[in-house]
Structures are given as C-alpha cells and as structure tokens.
Symmetry: C2
Subunit: 362 residues, 2 copies
C-alpha cells in the first residue's frame, strides 16, 4: 500500500455503498484501504515497524480464495476478513509469538462492490483490535476472482518459541478450548433446514464459532509466564504445540510425528460445545471435534505440573490426554457414555493423517 | 508453508514435468515448495528470523495475477518468479532497507503443471541469490486463476530510512540506471513482427530488461556509506527516494508531491538503453523512459555533493535534474538533439500523474 499523500482526507465517508471498484478508481481504493491501516506504520514503499531487542521476527502467510475458503453463502464479508486475520494470528500464537501487525494483499474483479471490501477490512480490523494490532501494509490487484493473502508478523524471544518436535512421553496434552463448533456452524450455514432442529441460541452460538473464531494469541502471555514462573524454576519446561486449524486429530498427529512419539486422548475429556451435543449424535460430535478443523485453538504438550498451572491460569484449557512412547495416536472412548449422556460408550479410535483437511484432495 | 517432517526427502528429483498439481497432491506440493526455501528459517507454523539489534522491520507486499501482471505470451514462468521477487526487493531498496527474506502465497488451479511452479520458484530463488536471501515461508491454495502474493521482509537502521517527503529545492535528482527498456522489451514480446526490425543482440537486451530487471538492493550499501562518509560529515545528509516501478515520471511526481517541491529534469541526461535508440523515434524512447514503468531503478534526491559521491561509487547512476521550489515538474528537452542524434530537439514536457500506470483504469 504505497503512500498516497494527496489522498489523506477521510475517504470512508465519501464512498457510496453501491459503488464498484472500477467506479471508485485505483487511487481512491488505495486511499480507502489505507484508512483501515495504521498511519504510523504505513511507510512510503513499505511499512517500518519496531521490534523488541533480542527478539526474533516471526512471519506467516495464508491465502484465502473465493469459493475455496469462503463464499457469500456461508461467510459475510466482515467474517471473511475476521477469519483471514484469525487464521494468521493463530499461526503466530502456535509459535509462542506476540503480534506486530499484518499486511493484506487483495485481488478483486472490477465489479466488486466497494461495500464488500469495506466490510472485509472492518472484519480484519475488528479481529486485530483486542491484540492492539493493525494493518501495516498491503497491495491490491485486478483479478477475475476475489482473494486475500494475509501475512502476519510477530516476535518471539528465542527461549519462548513453541516447536512441534519437542513433545516428550509423559507430557500432558492440553487444548485451549472446545472443538467441533466451527464445523457444526458451517453445516448449519450450508443446510438451513438443519437449523430448524436447533433453538436459535444454540444455532447462533455454533455459527458464531464458525464465522468469528478467537485466535489464541491471548494465551501467549500465559505461556510465557509459565516459562518464568518461580514454582517451576526447578523443572525443565518445554512446550510443544501447534494450532488446531486443520483439526484436533491433525494437530496431535503432527506433534507426535515431529516428536517421534504417540498419544492417548481421553475421548470424554475433549471439550465440545454444548450446542453440538443438543443437535448431533455423540459419534458425529466426536468426528467433528477431531476432524472438523478451523477451531483455531492451541494444542500443547507440556509436563503435567506445567499443564496444571496453565489450566489454572487459562480456565478454558483442558488436559485431554498424554504423550506416549508407543508411536500410534489413540482416542480412548471407554468413559464417553457418561460425558455424552448416551447409553453406551463410543468405540475407541485410531487416528490417521489421511482424514485431515486437504485442499487438493479429489 | 507449514512443516511437514515426513516429507524431508529431496522431492525435486521424483516429480515428473508433465504432472499437474492435482496429480502431485497437496502434501507433496508443499514438500516440493519447501525444497526451494531456507530449511533453517522455515518453522513449524511460521518462519522465525533474526533481526539486527536497533534495526526496524520493513515489510512490503505485492500481488501478481495471471493475465494482469503476467501471461504465458510475454513471461515464461522463471521470469514470473524473478519479476515478482524483484518488485518486492525494489520496494525494500526504496526504503533504504537490506533484505531478510520473502514469503510466497501461491494460488493455482488443480490442472497447473508442476513444472510451471518449479520454474516460478527457481526464478524467485535466482533473483534472491545475489543478495543471499531466501524464501522463508508461504502458502498454497486452490484457485481458478494463478496468482502470487509475495511479502518481502527487510531491516533498516532508523537513521538510514529513505523517505519520499524530504526532497529539498537544490537537491540533485539521481537515477540508478536506464529507463524505458522494460517497456521496450514488453512491446517486442507482444509484437514479434517488430522484433524483425531490430538485430538479435539489441532485441535480447531489451527483452532481458523486461523479463529480468535487477532490483537495486545492491545500491543500499552504497547509500548507507554516504551517510557514514567522512567527507560528508559536515553536511546534513538527507536522501529522499522511491523506485521507478510505476515509471520515472511517476517517481519524480510522487517525490515532489510528498515533499511539496517541483523539479526540472534535463531530458538529454535520462539514461535510455542504446538498443531503444536503434529501434524507436526519440519521442517514443522518451515516452517509454518516462512512463513505461517496471525498470525498478531508484530515483533519489540528495544534496549535489552527496550525489556526486554516489555517482562515483555507483557507475550506472546519473544526475538527471534538480529539485525546485516551483511545484511543477518539467522535462527540459533543449539539448536532446545531440543526445538522440535527431535533427531537432524534442518539445519540453510538463509531467502529470494521470499518465501513470493504473490497474483499474477503464
């Protein structure tokens, strides 16, 4: 987003909601996009940002394409922006990093309504707001289909970096929140008839989980405190982790594969949104919790004592299992009858990577 | 580009050039792309990169879309990658920054040949090589059209940042190399009949300027030395500047607009590739030099003594004019008869922003 010093006035007010990109023109579009960014950070040809002394830069990129990652049917533009930002902030959190800012590269057909862009940018801005982050740059291009490529920038003190390859047998596996809700929300949006079976409050809750996931950048401070905690100074604190953007099963499998370990997950411990239990069978709820994806929680492996401290500090966190020497990843469902309220337990599951989310899968 | 520890083998050798993305599959595609990146930098969920103490982070993003920024007709895939990287490195140079690395977000239809992607990535890698930079991360997505969003990361010591708004009347205007060649090369590629009028050596030279522009990141060390030079310690050194990616005229106009100044350019001083003089009229050569764009040189404003030092250190650099109090930007062509070998001088020109490159122009 190059500097356009002649267009510093507040352009937001002067744009009609019925205008298209072609009608607005490139210069005014750039000025409009800049009005959503941080004027302090956006430089002439590039953004210039301070970074804390002794910290490393962390960078992650995601591209979202219309009809692949979002569609008008399931994702209003404000949510498109929010989800794009959330996915990237989640990757920063998965590295143990705090945020610096994001850049947005936007591709648009000339007939794209300006109102769509404004809502996307507002969604990005609203997602960044709780973390005091802002849009620090970007680019815009003509294209036959809409897409967003977001790059998030963060920083981490080298000792606090969260890796995937350091889970140890005996570690507790902690999730920072519930799983399955995003997939359930998507199903409700795709099949509105299903929505009628569920009360409006439950329905809204699940749709909210799909359209407005909270990236766990807010957990990073908690995790950094674990490293520093006095009570733990005698222990060797290691934290392995990643986010559950491709599903809880995928996260546990990736962590185990990178660390050369296995895991046992206790099925009844996996937090699943109550609304989902009201709507689906225990089997289906478990399937969406494991394989649904896009819940954007963190899946962390750490010594049990550290895990207890973390769960005390982060109330939504739950210990769902343990890392094992044996390399396979099992879900033990022998206590699920009680947790699901069903008559019998679910069958135990052996997790495999091939059920994970793949964009190019035939 | 998330870590895929199970695919660390050299996948490059095992890919057939006739395969498509769909045939290769997402996991193997990610592994292939990773083989072009820096294994030291690519982290699990994001890249982690050191940054020099006391330096600020510089970040710039460009998106390139098929049939808007490149097409099979004019840009072989190796050049698509090169040009995308060059455009971003040029933005870093325009800020006075040195490079850290780049991320690449790729959108592809499933029938895209893997060989096309390999050549794009090789082009990016080859462009980065002289600056010891590498691909540090990225993402890949299914899309109906091919596009690349590149984010370049750099660092700058705050005192060495090049801004647009600090050009002063009396400053010399320096360009780091010739202009018009990229546009001339594009014309040759679009109209092969024209090529027949020009010898093969001239033709190749102009096409090379279009397909393989050199970003002026190599000038940054020279500019930093200017700041430090003993001979200049008595002077207040300010350097205003930007790159000429949208044309030399646009760069001078933007610098003057941001600085509240004007400029006089001496037409005969603008370096134009010799091949262009052999092919086009002096008028056409001047038009392409001023408005052609994508030459990716730097346009710098600095005190005349500093400019002389810089030109001595960077032989391709030329002083082409001076910054004025009067806010208009003129090209004085009263000495162009000699430089062009034409019978008379070109008419003087008053430059205006509306002729610059606009993607959404009707």
């Amino acid at each position: 987003m190059d500097g356009e010093p002649g267009f510093q006035e507040d352009i937001g007010e002067s744009v009609s909601h019925h205008q298209t990109v072609a009608e607005l023109g490139e210069q005014r579009l750039l000025a409009l996009l800049q009005s959503y960014g941080d004027p302090e950070a956006i430089g002439d040809d590039a953004a210039v940002l301070p970074i804390a002394s002794g910290h490393s830069l962390v960078v992650t990129t995601d591209v979202l394409v219309e009809d692949v990652h979002f569609s008008d049917r399931t994702t209003p533009p404000h949510s498109v922006g929010w989800r794009a930002a959330a996915a990237n902030l989640s990757d920063l959190a998965a590295m143990g990093a705090t945020g610096i800012g994001i850049t947005v590269a936007l591709s648009l057909p000339p007939d794209c309504p300006v109102a769509w862009i404004q809502q996307v940018y507002q969604g990005i801005k609203d997602c960044l707001h709780p973390y005091r982050l802002s849009i620090v740059g970007g680019d815009v291009s003509n294209s036959r289909i809409r897409s967003l490529a977001i790059t998030a920038l963060g920083q981490v003190s080298p000792g606090h970096q969260i890796r995937r390859d350091c889970a140890c047998p005996g570690d507790a596996i902690v999730v920072t929140g519930s799983h399955g809700g995003s997939r359930a929300g998507l199903e409700l949006l795709l099949d509105t008839d299903q929505s009628l079976l569920l009360g409006e409050a439950w329905r809204s809750q699940l749709i909210q989980l799909h359209q407005y996931p909270s990236p766990r950048l807010d957990c990073v401070t908690c995790l950094n405190r674990l490293h520093q905690a006095d009570v733990l100074t005698d222990l060797e604190i290691h934290i392995a982790g990643m986010d559950s953007s491709d599903g809880l099963a995928d996260a546990v499998l990736q962590l185990c594969r990178a660390s050369g370990t296995g895991a046992v997950i206790q099925g009844e411990k996996i937090p699943i949104p109550e609304a989902l239990h009201h709507w689906q069978t225990p089997q289906r709820a478990m399937e969406w919790a494991l394989y649904g994806g896009e819940d954007f929680e963190l899946v962390l492996c750490m010594p049990p004592q550290a895990a207890q401290h973390f769960c005390a500090a982060w109330p939504a966190a739950t210990i769902v299992g343990f890392v094992t020497v044996e390399p396979s990843v099992y879900v033990d469902c022998s206590n699920t009858a009680v947790s699901t309220g069903a008559e019998g337990n679910l069958p135990d599951l052996l997790l495999t990577l091939d059920r994970g989310f793949q964009h190019f899968k035939p």
